[in-house]
Symmetry: C6
Subunit: 268 residues, 6 copies
Amino acid sequence: MDTATNQKHDSQPYYVAVNDEEKIFTAAFNQGLSILLKGPTGCGKTRFVEAMAHKLRRPLVTVSCHDDLTTADLVGRFLLNGGKTEWVDGPLTKAVREGAICYLDEVVEARKDTTVVLHPLADYRRQLPLERLGITLDAAPGFCLVVSYNPGYQSVLKDLKDSTRQRMVAIEFDFPAPEVEERILAVEAGISAADAAKLVRFAQAIRRLENAGLREVASTRVLIAAGLLMREGLSAAVAAKTAIAGPLSDDAQVTKGLIKMIEVYLND
Amino acid sequence: MDTATNQKHDSQPYYVAVNDEEKIFTAAFNQGLSILLKGPTGCGKTRFVEAMAHKLRRPLVTVSCHDDLTTADLVGRFLLNGGKTEWVDGPLTKAVREGAICYLDEVVEARKDTTVVLHPLADYRRQLPLERLGITLDAAPGFCLVVSYNPGYQSVLKDLKDSTRQRMVAIEFDFPAPEVEERILAVEAGISAADAAKLVRFAQAIRRLENAGLREVASTRVLIAAGLLMREGLSAAVAAKTAIAGPLSDDAQVTKGLIKMIEVYLND
Amino acid sequence: MDTATNQKHDSQPYYVAVNDEEKIFTAAFNQGLSILLKGPTGCGKTRFVEAMAHKLRRPLVTVSCHDDLTTADLVGRFLLNGGKTEWVDGPLTKAVREGAICYLDEVVEARKDTTVVLHPLADYRRQLPLERLGITLDAAPGFCLVVSYNPGYQSVLKDLKDSTRQRMVAIEFDFPAPEVEERILAVEAGISAADAAKLVRFAQAIRRLENAGLREVASTRVLIAAGLLMREGLSAAVAAKTAIAGPLSDDAQVTKGLIKMIEVYLND
Amino acid sequence: MDTATNQKHDSQPYYVAVNDEEKIFTAAFNQGLSILLKGPTGCGKTRFVEAMAHKLRRPLVTVSCHDDLTTADLVGRFLLNGGKTEWVDGPLTKAVREGAICYLDEVVEARKDTTVVLHPLADYRRQLPLERLGITLDAAPGFCLVVSYNPGYQSVLKDLKDSTRQRMVAIEFDFPAPEVEERILAVEAGISAADAAKLVRFAQAIRRLENAGLREVASTRVLIAAGLLMREGLSAAVAAKTAIAGPLSDDAQVTKGLIKMIEVYLND
Amino acid sequence: MDTATNQKHDSQPYYVAVNDEEKIFTAAFNQGLSILLKGPTGCGKTRFVEAMAHKLRRPLVTVSCHDDLTTADLVGRFLLNGGKTEWVDGPLTKAVREGAICYLDEVVEARKDTTVVLHPLADYRRQLPLERLGITLDAAPGFCLVVSYNPGYQSVLKDLKDSTRQRMVAIEFDFPAPEVEERILAVEAGISAADAAKLVRFAQAIRRLENAGLREVASTRVLIAAGLLMREGLSAAVAAKTAIAGPLSDDAQVTKGLIKMIEVYLND
Amino acid sequence: MDTATNQKHDSQPYYVAVNDEEKIFTAAFNQGLSILLKGPTGCGKTRFVEAMAHKLRRPLVTVSCHDDLTTADLVGRFLLNGGKTEWVDGPLTKAVREGAICYLDEVVEARKDTTVVLHPLADYRRQLPLERLGITLDAAPGFCLVVSYNPGYQSVLKDLKDSTRQRMVAIEFDFPAPEVEERILAVEAGISAADAAKLVRFAQAIRRLENAGLREVASTRVLIAAGLLMREGLSAAVAAKTAIAGPLSDDAQVTKGLIKMIEVYLND
């Protein structure tokens, strides 16, 4: 338990910039502003944060948010040890002490009370009150709060409060342009440029569909999975059915439509 | 408490392949991808995972998911021992450390927060953050996450999040073809080929019904139960009423219909 | 605390078979199948299980299910003792270790997560994973899982999952035929055959009513209670009002109707 | 903590029988049946049970039920003492061991799971399984379970389950006849027969109202409170306004009506 | 921790009687009856109880009720101390032992289960069962239970049960008559009679409004606050805007109306 | 843990008064009244309280409220230490003991039960009952309770109770006048007066929009963030898109409108 960061990269993670996201991230980081990443599932937000942490030479602490994530899970808690209660820092507190980048993935999943604890940390105060210890920590230089969410999931129940949002600057993400996505696919899945192009054309077709009963379109992530299955010798059609059509929908009608598209775009 | 796996097979479990499911599973396993098994109750998903674990020579850890399964139940918790709190690994953590296949049966039953903990494990990172210990485990080689659910149960409340689904590749299951199912029935229930064929014909008839008030049709599992009762000397009709009609419905009208079908298909 | 069973019978419990329920129970027991008893309140399901346990010479463990019954209540939990946490088996675990019949009365009352823990035990695996101990128990020979519920109570919220139902064979119960019920009444309440017959005729009349505002009809159990009050010297009318009409309804209109029927059937 | 009963009476509690309730209670008690008392608030159910306990020479254990009453509150729990967990009996368990009358007041307030624990105790088994101790107690001779509720409050959410009701015999209560109520009033409040008669006439008038916006009518209990205030020198009108009109309603219109009735019936 | 009462008054608290409330309170106190105070926010209920406690020479224990107030908060609980659990009395138990007046402010806020624990204490029994200790306390002489609530807030969810109400006698409160309120204002805020009269005239005007979008009208309490601000040199208009209009409403339209009234009644 | 305050300022915080808020705050503070700050997100309420605490030479204790903030979080709790439970003061209790200003930010987020605990502290009593310790603290001189909320968020579920509101005096906040806001912007973000004026003009335009699908308008806080990004070399348009448009909305249509406004007001 001698490390406060859950990811350390010796080599720069593979990330291809799509827009001016690296420049904006760096400006916000330099000014100590908190950052909100918006974008669909599987478009590379997590990878981007890993790459920026490496570039800015800061440790990275990642927390996957969920309904049941309590403030104590982020901040820390007392644990009983030999009849004594001892305080154990949570990941956010560690990041604050070490000046790490703290990345809260899918922050809208967290309960609102959990995000409110971020307020004094996210604004000009850069402070984390540890009420149970009766102290307030000033964030170490280099600390940066980054949160992400998928605006497509937004609902009345699951939404960031305005007072949270207005404490952050926002960077928007989308799937990369076809030529960029092909390059990513070839590198990550280890498949030929031709196969990569074929998969990307199929993904573009799905992304053009609207009101097709799909809650989400094919992400770069599922294309890479399809590519990896192709590398194992499965045909493009079987790989796409397994890695793309299957995860995207359970609806018989929708699935039939996707299978037809696979026949058109991916049959040899 | 010296074993981390809850199933060890000395002999290959009896499983008859229906499609290319073994090939796809192996490809995904080789690439370290997570696997989603879709299919109705009682079609053999659990048995299939047991067979694949034996074939790939990996230990198997099975967890039956439910509403009340907490992240701590999967990952582990501190227990008080002699005035000291000691960490005890949960089944998922054990599987991650040992490179086992971890099978989460009926994963949609689990609370969404419990499935979010799977995210960094299910994607390219293959990591399990143990926030309460302040460390992050890299999954041992051979670790493979497999989850199953029944799309027929899907509801708005109980559904896998898209960000979870898109971290997996999907294999679809259905009941086996009649001749395969007859063979399974004869072997598993120890009844004659004729009796097995009779039961399968009855099951086929039920499966052809639509909008008959049944939420589920007769599964291979209930056919085996009927066969076992026949082996005890019950008539086919009584066995089918007990093992098939009774479990399928409580509705008087529906039950009457099933009894009539039993008279047609199973009376001597 | 030296016994794992909550019922031991020296003498065969009084039970009169209504149908082929004993034969089916024995067949399922021999094949290691789990058993689902369906039937209205007070028709003798509990007594039947007691009688079968005695006949098959297995210890019987009975658990009355309710909304708040947790998996830990069934399976066991750690209790603090002298600064050490010690595992204490729950009733299900005891039954699994001893090869007892484990009877879960009114199982639909239990939370769904509690029933999911039964899955690996109810199917061919006959295993009980004790996740908190990190081990999996194989059920001892003679272990048999029996659950009961009243289909008349069924609601969307309280219903057995199909994946639970299809792991069981079902035996249906109803009130006994008049002559059988009279015999039971005479023996259990110690009243004359004539009085027993009078009470049964009254019960039959109630059971013929439909849409009379009654959620349940008069069960064998309430007839016995009326008989016991008659033995204490109360008139048949007062006994029936107290033991039958009162428990069946609070509605003034419905009660008036029942009192009229009492005057017709039970006045001396 | 040397007594298991929360009420011991040296002298017979003052109770005037309204009907054959004492005879029925005694018959049910002799046969070991459980008893359900139905009736409006403040009609004397609690006093009746106290009187019967005294008459039958049994200790009395009373529990006021509420939404948050857990099974452990009734049955007992482990408490930590000097690093050891020690079992402490709840009131129900004490009553079972001592053969006391256990009276659960307003039982419909209790959660349904709490009432299910009564099932094996309420029927012919007369057993209390203490699952956390792994034992089952047989109720000592003289144990008798008595529950009460007010059918006027019944709602879909708060209702006794049929399987609970059918394990009991029911005794119905209503307000006493005028001459009986006058006598009770004179004795309990220590007022003159004339004043008692005046208050009862007023109560009768209120009880004749229907659809007057009152959820409950004036009970014997509130008449006694009015009488006690009169004994302190308040006028009948002020006493009735304070002890009857005030508690019965907050509605301005309804209160105005009650005040007018007070002027008619109680002004000097 | 050597005192069981949270308020001890050396001097008589300032309270001006509006009606016969002192006489009724004294009569109910003498007869051991429980008392229900009804009235709007800020009309002086709390002050009245303080004055009565002083007059009757009883210690006073006040509890502000809320949704989360558990029975244990009122009655007491076991606390761990040096490896031993020790019982610590709650405020209600202390009041019962010492014969204090126990005042539950805004009792409708408490959960219904918390009010049910008051039943045996509120009626003729005057007993507090401490189920976790296995004992029942008889209230010491002088103990008196007083509860208050605001009938204007009543809702289906938040309402006293009839069985609780009928165990109490009710005293109704309203704002004092203008001349009384002016006197209170002059004494409490230390302002001139003229200023006090001006504020009361303004309050009367507000109280005459109906259906003006106000959930509550101006209470004596907010008038005192306005007076205190005037004593600090703020103008009557600014004081009234700050202490009366601001707290009464957030609605722009309603606030505009109140400001206009301030201009009419309070501008110099 | 040697400090009870979570903010100590050596230098006066930068705050520009908009209205007579400092005078009113001082008057209320002098009279021991509690203060309610109303106003939109990011208009400077927190900074104002910091400035007043500095001016009045009181320590400041700030608590960010949320759904899950329990009374114990504010007041204190027992913690286990070496087998003994020790009481640890919460932030409110510390402020009460030290005579600090206690600022509860976004108090409507707190559960109503948590705000009820403020009642005896907020009115003339100035007392904090510590029920679990059995004592009542008198607030030290200089203690002042300040709460804030955003009336724009008000909903039926999240609203201060009238009995809480009427224990406070209210100060209303809005965004500063343009020339004041420009000055703040120039100082806080370190940008030129011309750039500051441009951003304020843009903000004014947004604030004039009504029914534009925005739940909140651009606050002073987001203008400062935009200024800070401009200081890092981003263009005014990119800075405004990142710090203003992104946080304000996820809606595609709304965002398009904001981008157009950026082109009009902020393009060079």
